[in-house]
Symmetry: C2
Subunit: 138 residues, 2 copies
C-alpha cells in the first residue's frame, strides 16, 4: 500500500517550505535536500502552484514559498488533492461489483485513514531549517 | 493509493470460497467468476495455502476451500498478511529520515485504516453463490 510519488513529493516540498518560512526557496535546493529529481519536482511544484499551495516568484532573487499559511493546511487535504485516486482495488468489470460489501468497508477504512491525517497541519509537522542541514551531513 | 494486486486477488478468492462454503471450488471457476488470470490466481492460491488460509484437496473431485472458518478471518488480517509492505512513502536515503514527523502520522493513519478492516470477518462480507451467477449474466 503506497501513496503515489506525486503525493510523496508534494508533501516533501511543502514540508521544506513550511520549515523555511522566512525566505523564498529554490526548486534546486529542495531537490538537493531530499536527493530527488529536480525535473520531477518541477512538475509537482507547477501542479501545487496551480492548486494554490505554492506561490512562485519569478526573476532574479525569485523562488517558491507556501501559498497559504502552514497552520491552515491539513495533511489530509494535501493527500486528498494529490492522490490520483482512492480505488484500493480495481473493481472495473468485476462480476460482483454491485453486490460486493468490501468496497463499502474499504471506503470506511479510507475515511478513518484520512481523519487521522486531518488532525495535523503542515505547521505542526514542519521541522527547523537545521534539521535539513544535519540530514545533509549524514 | 492502492492495495497490491496480490492482496486484491487474495481477497477475491477468499470471498469466493466463503460464498461457496458447502463444496470444493476450482481455481478455474474462481478465475472465470472474476474474469481474472488463472495463472496469477494459482500463485495467490499457493501462497494462501502456505499461510493456512486455503486447503487444497488434490486429485479427481479435488479443489480448494477455506482453511479456517470464515467467521474467524478478519479482513484486516488478510490485508496485513498479503500486503508486501506498508511504507506509504519511500524514506530510504531521505535526509530528514530521523526527524520527520510525517512517518509517525502515517503509521497512526494506517492503524486506523486496519482497525476498520478488523471489524469485519470474511463471513460477514461473504455473498451468496447466486450473486456470482447474476454477475456473470451482466
Amino acid at each position: 500500500m503506497k501513496l503515489t510519488l506525486f503525493t510523496d513529493y508534494s508533501m516533501r516540498v511543502m514540508f521544506y517550505l513550511a520549515s523555511h518560512p522566512d525566505r523564498l526557496c529554490s526548486i534546486a535546493e529542495v531537490a538537493s535536500a531530499y536527493q530527488i529529481s529536480q525535473n520531477h519536482l518541477m512538475k509537482v511544484v507547477n501542479e501545487l502552484a496551480r492548486l494554490g499551495y505554492i506561490n512562485s516568484v519569478r526573476g532574479r532573487g525569485g523562488g517558491i514559498k507556501l501559498g497559504r499559511p502552514a497552520d491552515e493546511i491539513r495533511i489530509g487535504e494535501i493527500v486528498r488533492q494529490t492522490e490520483a485516486g482512492f480505488e484500493f482495488v480495481d473493481c472495473s468489470g468485476c462480476t460482483i461489483e454491485g453486490a460486493c460489501k468490501l468496497t463499502c468497508l474499504l471506503k470506511e477504512a479510507l475515511s478513518a485513514f484520512l481523519k487521522v491525517l486531518d488532525k495535523s497541519t503542515l505547521e505542526e509537522l514542519a521541522l527547523g531549517p537545521r534539521d535539513f542541514d544535519v540530514g545533509a551531513l549524514k
